[in-house]
Symmetry: C2
């Protein structure tokens, strides 16, 4: 640990400067101290892929910035920009890479055009839950791999939130077997969409703003979004009748903080520690929020809006599982870095799910009344 | 947010002092700055209920202290004391209450003699998992209640770790039905032990140091400890043959940071934020460590030490569930604060487990091959 702090050094510098002028007059001495303080204050921009105050995600970015600002006592001040305020949502990664913004708040699968391996750091179909993913990052080598994937872009990634297990999506048709997915027009981005294509569904790419109308008019038959807390706010229950589970495609979607590497390395060690701790605090905080709020929203959907909750049939889930394995193996086979990440991911998943089979899974099945 | 930092104020103070002496000589000016820095440094003691470097728990206390020290750049320096170094393990709470130590690292059920309601803040039989408990604390009113329970003792509690779901324990007898628990001599502290008594088991109180021999010599038939990572290190496989699951008695045991209220309130806001963030970082970090390490330890137990993994029979789990409900209701009925905490706990548990039934539980059951 350093024993002379940056502020300590600053005090000595101010003092030396003041000594030079103090015998002549006092006003200049105060100016020198003020200037020194202004130089020391660091201002960062955080660009995001979310609309302003988007529940859980946009508010999560604000919480992260506030925590950094409070812990650094304003020495590092982070200002959040919603999607489009400084750069468009999908330029977040490039903006942080170039240093236009020092931080970003997003999710990794948006950047698959940069490097296919990023897709393992959002959520993987039939992959890890939030708890398992966080354990892989911190104690299973996952974070080092994520850093390796982002290093060519001059970006340091940190986990900064998680939605927990998402829902399977909104449907205007009942799904009774895997055959009902053939020809189904659905909006599902990311790896889930790739898997859906393998079982015969037709993927329709739509920006968030067009989903509601497309679902209402029958341009699409189905869409996924997040979970009850976000889906209720989005009003999707007005456009579709059935709400399916489990959300096999995103069992725990990680939200990332992107940090420009030069900007991070220029921070003193204490501020680096503060940025990392604030990200971890936000990581758990967001999961806590989704975990706590989803059920009340689900009750509103079912009780007040007559949404019909349905579970996917077993044959469909089995088919999706097979298609998911194929999809991941294809991504790995086409890109050495993806193969490296997949091997680590798969090995950790096999181990941690074996443990959860006899710990959390066995427990929650024993706790349940059914 | 404050715009003049403590260090900023210190710089101005140093400067003013230096101005007085600078025209005479320079050595004294440096001394003044050094003295000013020493005055600002705050030193805290953290007493714990764990042996030094006890896996996951003792190391978790060290990690928490290190994070505070790094983020504060040594302005707040926390030194960790293992059980018995400064005070005996079970005087941790009193030491923090009196201010003998500014912090403690422990788990709440040890203090049930102080207030019965504390028992809801460690782990509750058939209660919440780690993820559910953290969500209750931050978004379900749990933390406010915990603060209310500790307030009369001048202590602020914070969640600072979690073991995740524990195992059901080590047994030297096969358990084939609830009848096999009648007369069984077992060591199980906390609420789990109260529940066991209701189904006919005989509870034997033993300090950690005597468990191994008692199990080996037949003084007890069974004991619980933590989970594979700790149990392997403890060598319990040498004294018992069967390792049972699920760990119904502790589905997610929370570790607490205790902070003396006067000491906390005397901190500037930035250091208060750092203490809270470091606790949250440690909270998730410990769960990550247990989640990642338990399976490798379990494999070693089963493959290298021939431990026999067994699941409790359903009739026993049902009987334990009924006895658990009775136990919690009795605690609540005997103490108004416990009733208040129980009502909040139970209401959140019902809601969050309904959500998890269709999200994480449905997902991990679909993911599993069996």
């Amino acid at each position: 640990m350093k024993t002379i702090t940056t502020w300590g050094k600053l005090a000595l510098a101010s003092l030396a400067a003041a000594t030079l002028v103090a015998c002549g007059g006092s006003e200049q001495a105060e100016d020198t101290a003020n200037v020194a303080q202004k130089v020391e204050k660091i201002e960062w921009k955080m660009v995001t892929t979310w609309p302003k105050n988007f529940p859980g995600l946009g508010t999560g970015a604000e919480a992260l910035a506030n925590n950094i600002n409070q812990m650094s006592d304003g020495r590092l001040e982070v200002k959040v920009y919603a999607a489009g305020e400084l750069v468009p949502a999908l330029e977040t990664f490039d903006a942080v890479s170039r240093g236009t913004a020092e931080m970003g708040h997003s999710t990794a699968y948006y950047w698959k055009g940069k490097a296919p391996a990023v897709q393992f750091f959002s959520s993987v179909p039939f992959g890890m839950t939030a708890q398992e993913f966080n354990a892989w990052l911190e104690y299973g080598g996952g974070l080092e791999l994520w850093e390796e994937v982002y290093a060519p872009f001059n970006i340091i990634p940190m986990a900064a939130g998680n939605s927990g297990a998402q829902m399977g999506g909104w449907f205007n048709k009942e799904i009774n077997s895997v055959d009902d997915f053939k020809g189904l027009k659905m909006r599902m981005p990311g790896l889930g969409g790739e898997v859906m294509k393998k079982v015969g569904a037709v993927m329709v790419n739509l920006p968030g703003s067009e989903i509601f109308t497309a679902l209402q008019t029958g341009t699409i038959d189905a869409t996924e979004w997040v979970g009850p807390y976000n889906d209720l706010a989005f009003g999707l229950y007005k456009a579709a009748k059935y709400y399916y589970y489990p959300g096999w495609q995103e069992p725990g979607s990680a939200i990332e903080a992107l940090v420009n590497k030069d900007a991070f390395n220029a921070l003193p060690e204490d501020l680096q520690g503060i940025v990392r701790a604030a990200a971890q605090q936000a990581n758990l905080g967001m999961l806590n929020e989704f975990t706590a709020r989803n059920n009340a929203a689900l009750e509103t959907l079912v009780n007040d809006h007559n949404v019909i909750l349905k579970t996917f049939p077993n044959d469909l889930l089995e088919a999706l599982k097979v298609a998911s394995d194929e999809t991941l193996q294809e991504i790995a086979a086409n890109d050495p870095m993806s193969q490296k990440v997949y091997d680590s991911f798969k090995s950790f998943l096999d181990s941690v799910s074996a443990w959860h089979d006899i710990s959390e899974r066995a427990f929650i099945n024993a706790r349940a009344d059914d």
